[in-house]
């Protein structure tokens, strides 16, 4: 992967070479990569090309697939998923994983509704309801994330299990709090976040875009970003080099939690309902999307743009197969196949770049 980076880099800084032989070796390696890069399917954005290919392959057979309202549709489906996946990406970069995101969505949805709801909310009807609700929802996300991070960094528990248990707990809590009921009658100003739009641009798009840009900048430009990658690469080395590993790791999980909460706001808003089972089924889509995009499960590797592509692909597949009216099980199988295909592409690319 890294050798791949150097091919991309414009300004290659020459450093004293050990001997001519080695130099020749390097160069030959470059020529090779350069060749590899011309092939779209070994490029960093292979999944993106795949998406486009897929779209044009199906468009003629699928009435409405290429229509504008469907485009809008795909986006509104994509946005919340993207937000969650972005949070997940940050965690994956540190070499961790966050299975608790879906339950976080449900829990913060319920809590938010309990604050805002017109009939049974604590602040029902008050003009502060919406703001308070949003704050509470984000708070829930932050708290769950912080808990995960703390358990992982302080008690050194494996992220997989920690977040698995938080998943069980948060969802159980959400259902228990509502005694299985959904909560309706949320303030219109809140629902607007999920459905409304300024001119033609939906708020959801604005929110997501802002978040994506923010995360992109953080990962690629900021101190915290560099630290996150460093932890993913080699946590011990990071500690010795003075990286506040504990704090940074916790930050990653808090970000993931906040993203889940943000997604929950959009979901809840467009559902106009606080539901204790909100988004329960998207976990595998979230992780799948990030991984399909090219983010590594072993840490140190991942980008916002990659995840955007991954999410776009997954959503497009759902949307298109759905419009073809294919049966439930068929969609599932295709999805599984696609995940494997993407992984294959990635493996193939790495092998090419490794020059083996």
């Amino acid at each position: 992967m890294t050798s791949f980076t150097c091919a991309r880099s414009g300004a290659a800084v020459k450093v004293v070479m050990e001997d001519s032989a080695k130099q020749r070796r390097e160069e030959s390696a470059f020529v090779f990569e350069a060749k590899a890069l011309r092939n779209p399917f070994v490029s960093e954005y292979s999944i993106f090309y795949l998406t486009i290919l897929y779209f044009f392959a199906l468009a003629p057979f699928t009435p409405g697939l290429a229509s504008t309202e469907n485009a809008a549709n795909i986006f509104s489906n994509l946005l919340p998923l993207l937000i969650v996946a972005l949070g997940q990406t940050v965690v994956l970069i540190t070499g961790g994983i966050d299975l608790s995101v879906t339950s976080t969505i449900a829990l913060s949805s319920v809590m938010g509704a309990m604050v805002m709801s017109g009939d049974q909310g604590w602040l029902g009807g008050s003009r502060w309801a919406t703001i308070a609700g949003v704050v509470v929802m984000l708070l829930i996300g932050a708290v769950v994330g912080l808990f995960n991070g703390a358990a992982i960094t302080i008690f050194r528990m494996p992220a997989f299990i920690v977040t698995l248990t938080t998943m069980m707990f948060a969802s159980g809590l959400a259902i228990w709090l509502t005694k299985s009921k959904t909560i309706y009658n949320l303030p219109p100003s809140f629902n607007a976040i999920g459905k409304g739009s300024v001119f033609i641009v939906p708020y959801a798009l604005v929110v997501t875009a802002l978040l994506a840009v923010a995360l992109h900048v953080m990962l690629s430009r900021s101190l915290a970003g560099r630290w996150l990658y460093a932890i993913g690469h080699n946590a011990k080395a990071a500690v010795v080099s003075g990286v506040p590993v504990g704090r940074t790791t916790r930050l990653a999980y808090v970000i993931s939690g906040l993203c889940a909460a943000a997604a929950s706001i959009l979901y809840t808003g467009r559902m106009e309902t606080g539901s204790p089972v909100l988004g329960q089924r998207i976990l595998l889509d979230v992780i799948g999307a990030a991984v399909i995009g090219g983010t590594s499960l072993f840490g140190g590797r991942g980008k916002v743009i990659w995840t955007v592509c991954g999410v776009l692909f997954i959503t497009l597949i759902d949307n298109s197969l759905n419009m073809l009216g294919l049966s439930y099980f068929f969609i599932m199988m295709v999805k599984g196949g696609v995940i494997l295909l993407a992984a294959l592409l990635d493996a193939w690319r790495n092998r090419l770049l490794a020059g083996r």
Binding site: M168, G172, L284, I331, G336, L340, A343, L344, A347
Partner: protein
């Protein structure tokens, strides 16, 4: 050197899992005398047999630092095929053979993708999870399927006075335990999990090891599915859903590391599986508020794993100091 408090702490950590186990038993026992009756203990064993068998397979995979998310789907596919054949009036022997074959096949697919194409196990099995589930739903047209008596024999019958599920469970357990501790293959699994490169250069055929553990996992999942479905009498479209998480949880509860090389099926994984089932069982026995189930369960898993992690951490620190 060390003062008493450290000793006590060390002791508590050393036996954390067991103490937790004891505490849970004591608690349920106090709340309902019925809980500790031998019959109930047998029930717990029967009820945990399926998940335990699956978790045993999972342990093999975890030992080489892999993971198999597809076990739930494999259970489902195996159950569906078993049902179809049994309904088709095939003899029990053939049905069982077919189930084992399915397990082998599913495992082999995972294994191939993981070893030959070097795709991370997490992704491979995530993909096969979808594929398997979809395939099963397609075969059943997403309908529930009632099973004929012939198949239910496995679940109900008793041999030598012991319920068949328990026998199957014990058989698989014994086999797995012997393989892991007494055979070259077993020890080489631990070696591969400890350091794959080293294992390879030591002359171990690591690809073969990896391949086999995924096959074993698939096989166990299929058997687990059969054992479970034979007790249910029907295959519903949700059968086996999310079982992968339960299996991993059981293994990790039993002290198996997700990073490979550490763990065992006995007492480890089995204890984990039984612990989970015990809690489920106890909560019903004391007629607890249904809403509390997930809360209690997750908290207990969290505690157990936390104690384990703390122990390893201290052990490591001790090693560094010396």
């Amino acid at each position: 050197m060390k003062n008493l408090r450290d000793d006590i702490e060390a002791f508590l950590l050393r036996w954390a899992s067991l103490l937790l186990f004891a505490a849970i038993f004591a608690a349920f026992g106090l709340l309902s005398p019925k809980f500790l009756e031998p019959q109930n203990l047998i029930n717990i064993l029967i009820q945990s047999s399926s998940i335990a068998i699956t978790a045993i397979g999972m342990t093999f995979v975890l030992l080489v630092a892999g993971i198999d998310l597809s076990v739930g789907s494999v259970m489902f596919v195996a159950a569906v095929v078993a049902g179809k054949l049994a309904l088709g009036g095939q003899p029990l022997a053939l049905t069982i053979a077919a189930v084992l074959l399915i397990g082998l096949a599913c495992g082999a697919i995972n294994a191939l993708l993981v070893t030959r194409l070097a795709i991370p196990a997490f992704i491979v099995t995530l993909g096969t999870l979808y594929l398997g589930r979809g395939f099963g739903l397609w075969m059943t047209e997403t309908r529930a399927m009632n099973l004929p008596e012939s198949l239910l024999q496995i679940g109900a019958a008793r041999t030598l006075g012991a319920p068949v599920p328990i026998l199957v469970f014990l058989f698989v357990l014994a086999l797995a335990h012997v393989v892991l501790t007494q055979t070259p293959f077993g020890r080489q699994i631990y070696a591969t999990g400890n350091d794959r490169e080293t294992a390879r250069s030591a002359g171990i055929n690591t690809k073969r090891i990896l391949f086999l553990v995924y096959v074993i996992s698939g096989l166990c999942a299929a058997v687990g599915g059969l054992v479970s479905v034979a007790q249910l009498g029907a295959v519903s479209p949700t059968f086996g859903n999310q079982r992968e998480f339960a299996a991993v949880a059981a293994a990790v509860l039993g002290g198996t590391s997700l990073f490979g090389g550490r763990g065992n099926v006995f007492p480890g994984t089995v204890a984990g599986a039984i612990l989970i089932q015990t809690v489920e069982n106890g909560l019903v026995i004391i007629n607890a508020d249904p809403y509390l189930y997930p809360l209690v369960m997750s908290s207990i898993i969290f505690l157990a794993v936390g104690a384990n992690a703390e122990r390893f951490r201290q052990a490591r620190r001790g090693a560094n100091a010396s």
